[in-house]
Symmetry: C2
Subunit: 454 residues, 2 copies
């Protein structure tokens, strides 16, 4: 068998992130203020984020230097490996070439620290001592806890209560790295206390955890807030993934025809595809296909309207122009918790509107089927989120088998499934189900979009 | 900060294992037959192992070729990375240089597949369709399941019943790779049925699981048995770890003064130190120190006599000359399950007897303290077994701080702790304890050593 993996020399690791805003054919629609519904200015975000991140959010510079201190931490696990999936190709009997970039070797086990490390660094630079955030199953919270440990910044994570108790492993990971992780709703914020007064047994929700984290950050001088996806600067930090992949493919003389990834907030997939998309925009690779994969039960890009909506359930976060299912929409309980978001990164939505990228929705059982096939050929057991990318990769490779085309497919293997084995257990035991398209719930949620000019 | 990690080019990956038997100053004492107590011949082992592994067990060849098919699978995650622990050094304020080889990036998350893959390959070559084994918490069982998947050999794992139900994640991992994993005692063997007749609620034990796996392998033509540590050929397969480490250190112009690892059956540590030990035996590095670290509550090398004893509780396995606490000894329930073995690899025992290596026992709380310090500097959360090596590494680095010596320390980071987070939780919550030296239980168990000439 040929070589199966390629890793850049550490010395060749990219030293700048790529900012797609410099190359967009049309600029992004502005964020709006949640109260005034006027375009948002830097001063509106200052209570929540350090100024450098606010600048990056709207920067038009094509490349932004990665600080040396951030590169030092990246080097703990970066550059990550690009695999050629020879075994999967053989199992599928496809003429397609399949590559995947594997982000599961970071200490928290996913792509998330690519931005967590950068965010904590900039906060530290501006004298911030504490950062709050929210987390569902713990993927993002553990990445921020890791980053806080690296720079000596205190991290406080509001973890959705039901996950705090039912999925303790990532919570323990955060605590092992020294973070303070508490179940939300908590007694520590007004949002939390109000909820507990109404419903002492409230299991919590991501929307409420955001409210708690934002409230605490707004109320303390030494504290800011951090978000793990959706925003422009978060996607930009993730471009290290795509820049590495592009460099390594160039070294071996290859280039993808199709790039595939799963999307919840959109950051892992944008991280890999944006540097390739530049070539499509520049006309160097006009036929490049970029496929966003989302759950059928949370079909933001494939079924939602393109409209201004709140980023969070409570309507405290900025209003963004995006494909949305309505900020009050609660998706069915699929195991890919990281993909259960009502909206999507404004950058990805803008690109979809411009027809520069595509979107596809897949059912839960089909994703686990793909994940097991991947584990039984390539060895790696992926996170349920990642299995969405695997599903469409296999589908595209099987199409090549029919047509005989030798397409080059690249997907982002965003993380391992070590903390999701219970989901695999349920799948193997035949206890998982697919969900119908939640049409009525979405229609109901969409009635509640904010009234804006856009 | 300087470069923190070094990885061999895939093309420079060693193509042979190193066999210490070629360089031992005195030969190993022979195994004895469990019934006759006469030296064991190849024909005695033939019902359990394929002939190639039996040959390797007694081979005097210095190097043995790694088959291409095994190298192909190794390349899924090998060569593994050698890290320079700059952040730990800084946290300890030590002049020592600390390196560690990290085996946690293999799909099962430990060093175990280095031998699992080789063993399954040789079985497959000799027409074997099924392999049985036992597993405690699942580290070994998952590695064999992974290897079985790679070569299309059916794997059946007898998993200690209490772990099967209390620690389901590795069981699910085995099933995801397609292995058949059942709780032991089972109804499928006489050993299992006998136990269930006596005690239907029996929680199982590693000794009983071995008996079930061996019984099934002996009773079927198409089935052999596989062991994950202790035996000479298992240690030899693990030398890929040390050969890679030695090569990479040579490339950067460094060499360890001290090599450290944790020992249960002994395979991960022997894997890293044997290639370096050759230089000590050859007189090239006479002052090299090699420190075996074991739990204080299972102090085989530090407290046991050097005597002939059975490898398993039931007395079915070959009798080996080793340091032992008695084959009936059940250690206190420390979380480092992989180190709870009454005996030790005969090669390591022989080397200790010859004073070529040292041994040290450490308490449980001190190992978790070291593991948390490591996680909070290097980012990686290690398996509780590995934390034993981390403990002594930190101790030796702190000695260097006192003396000002710039020693070079290398330890084997044998695997991650993603499936052991509950142990970290207990430690962080102050719920873990140390155990006294189990003097009386050991004295009792040692009364039951087999009567032999040795």
């Amino acid at each position: 068998m040929d070589t199966t993996k390629y890793t850049l020399d550490e010395k060749k690791m990219p030293k700048q992130w790529y900012n797609i805003q410099a190359d967009l054919p049309e600029p992004l629609p502005p964020y709006l203020h949640p109260m005034t519904k006027e375009p948002l200015g830097p001063q509106d975000l200052a209570p929540l984020f350090p100024m450098e991140l606010i600048k990056q959010e709207v920067s038009q510079d094509r490349y932004i230097d990665i600080p040396d201190e951030v590169l030092d931490v990246y080097r703990m696990w970066r550059p990550t490996t690009l695999y050629r999936a020879h075994r999967l190709e053989k199992a599928l009997d496809t003429p397609a070439k399949i590559y995947y970039k594997y982000e599961g070797t970071s200490p928290p086990g996913s792509h998330k620290p690519n931005t967590a490390v950068a965010q904590v660094y900039y906060n530290k630079q501006e004298g911030i001592k504490r950062i709050t955030t929210e987390t569902g199953a713990g993927q993002w919270g553990s990445a921020l806890a890791f980053a806080g440990m690296c720079f000596g910044v205190e991290i406080k994570v509001f973890m959705v209560k039901v996950s705090y108790f039912q999925k303790p492993y990532r919570r323990i990971m955060m605590q092992t790295w020294g973070a303070n992780c508490i179940p939300s709703p908590s007694e520590e914020t007004k949002s939390g206390r109000d909820m507990l007064a109404k419903d002492p047994d409230c299991p919590g929700s991501l929307g409420l955890a955001i409210s708690e984290a934002v409230e605490e950050a707004m109320s303390r001088e030494d504290t800011k807030y951090s978000l793990g996806s959706v925003l422009n600067h978060v996607l930009m930090h993730q471009t290290i993934v795509g820049l590495e992949a592009k460099q390594v493919l160039e070294d071996i003389g290859d280039y993808p025809d199709i790039v595939i990834g799963c999307v919840g907030g959109g950051s892992n997939f944008a991280g890999i595809f944006l540097p390739f998309l530049k070539d499509k925009i520049d006309g160097k690779k006009p036929d490049l296909r970029i496929i966003n994969v989302e759950p059928f039960s949370c079909p933001t890009l494939t079924k939602g309207p393109y409209a201004y909506d709140y980023g969070d359930v409570a309507g405290l976060a900025p209003i963004a122009k995006m494909f949305t299912l309505g900020h009050g929409f609660i998706p069915p309980p699929v195991h890919a918790g990281g993909l259960r978001y009502h909206g999507m990164a404004p950058i990805i939505c803008h690109l979809l509107k411009l027809k520069l990228v595509e979107a596809r929705a897949v059912h839960q059982l089909a994703t686990f089927e793909a994940g097991v096939q991947f584990a039984r050929s390539e060895g790696i057991i992926c996170a349920p989120e990642t299995d969405h990318a695997v599903r469409v990769t296999i589908d595209e490779a099987l199409k090549c088998k029919e047509t005989g085309e030798k397409k080059v497919i690249l997907f982002n293997n965003s993380g391992h499934g070590h903390f999701d084995m219970a989901a695999y257990d349920a799948y193997l035991a035949g206890k998982l189900q697919d969900y119908e398209y939640p049409k009525e719930k979405i229609e109901e949620a969409l009635k509640d979009l904010p009234k804006t000019e856009g």
